[in-house]
């Protein structure tokens, strides 16, 4: 999936290689690149399942506008993975519906 040598752009500059987990599975990516890109390079295209009909969704606009790529990252839901930079040790999970409820003092 990754382009080794691009005819016009040459070799893409990337940060240091890091490890992260996707639904518990360890994967490799590069520091600073969007989480969604690291996932795609590992063959992962499904980011979440919709709340009502449990349908698979993934990256669509790739610039942080459509929110189809949101996932749970380090426990936080609704992270736009197409613009969120990857860090060493990040825990990325498929988001189901609205993800974990982080509100406190529920009635």
């Amino acid at each position: 999936m990754r382009i080794e040598e691009h005819p016009i752009l040459g070799v893409f500059e990337k940060g240091p290689k890091v490890h992260f987990t996707f639904d518990g599975k360890t994967m490799e990516g590069f520091t600073g690149e969007p989480i969604a890109i690291a996932l795609r390079s590992n063959g992962v295209l499904i980011h979440r399942y919709t709340a009502k009909r449990n349908e698979p969704r993934g990256m669509f606009c790739a610039i942080g506008r459509c929110t189809d790529c949101i996932m749970v990252v380090d426990g936080m839901p609704n992270i736009r993975t197409c613009i969120e930079p990857l860090k060493e040790g990040m825990a990325v999970e498929t988001q189901h519906g609205n993800g974990p409820d982080l509100s406190r003092g529920k009635p």
Partner: protein, 167 residues
């Protein structure tokens, strides 16, 4: 009835015949010459600016498709990598043994190697036959647009417009 380029994406023989950037067979037999396959009225004139021999004319209205003055063209190939539409080719039909050489822009990787046999494709991307790479050019001035020169039978000189690597 052959569909034209607005439906197929490639120029038909009829459209090419009406083109003012296409050199005659007589001129092509004399040596390398530019073939300008740009027939649309888009505002663009780097080809005219690049020619030092007054062989390409666009004029004041930059939407005019380029006109080739074939007797002024010396086949210096300055125009080829300049064209943003990659619509210029250099054709040389003066080779012995009924062969011709075509220089075409190439912006893919991997680059072919000198001596490599490749497949020559026509404007519709259909295979014509095999051709041999005789040169690859890549200079800083060309700004990442490499060119390849292929040698192939002369009768393909005005149909072969792309290559596919065999590997």
């Amino acid at each position: 009835m052959a569909a034209d380029s607005t439906k197929t994406g490639f120029l038909s023989q009829k459209e090419l015949k009406d083109g003012k950037g296409i050199p005659s067979e007589t001129r092509r037999r004399k040596g390398a010459v530019a073939v300008l396959e740009c027939l649309e009225d888009i505002p663009c004139n780097p080809c005219e600016s690049s020619c030092k021999y007054d062989a390409i004319t666009v004029g004041e209205d930059i939407t005019t498709p380029p006109v080739l003055t074939e007797d002024n063209c010396v086949g210096c190939r300055s125009c080829l990598p300049i064209c943003p539409g990659q619509a210029i080719f250099i054709v040389d039909e003066s080779l012995p043994d009924n062969m011709a050489a075509i220089e075409m822009p190439y912006e893919y990787r991997p680059l072919p190697e000198k001596g490599e046999t490749v497949i020559a494709l026509d404007r519709a991307g259909q295979k014509i036959g095999e051709a041999v790479i005789t040169a690859i050019k890549q200079t800083k001035k060309m700004d990442q647009t490499a060119t390849v020169i292929v040698e192939l039978p002369r009768e393909w000189s005005m149909t072969a417009r792309a290559i596919r690597l065999k590997r």
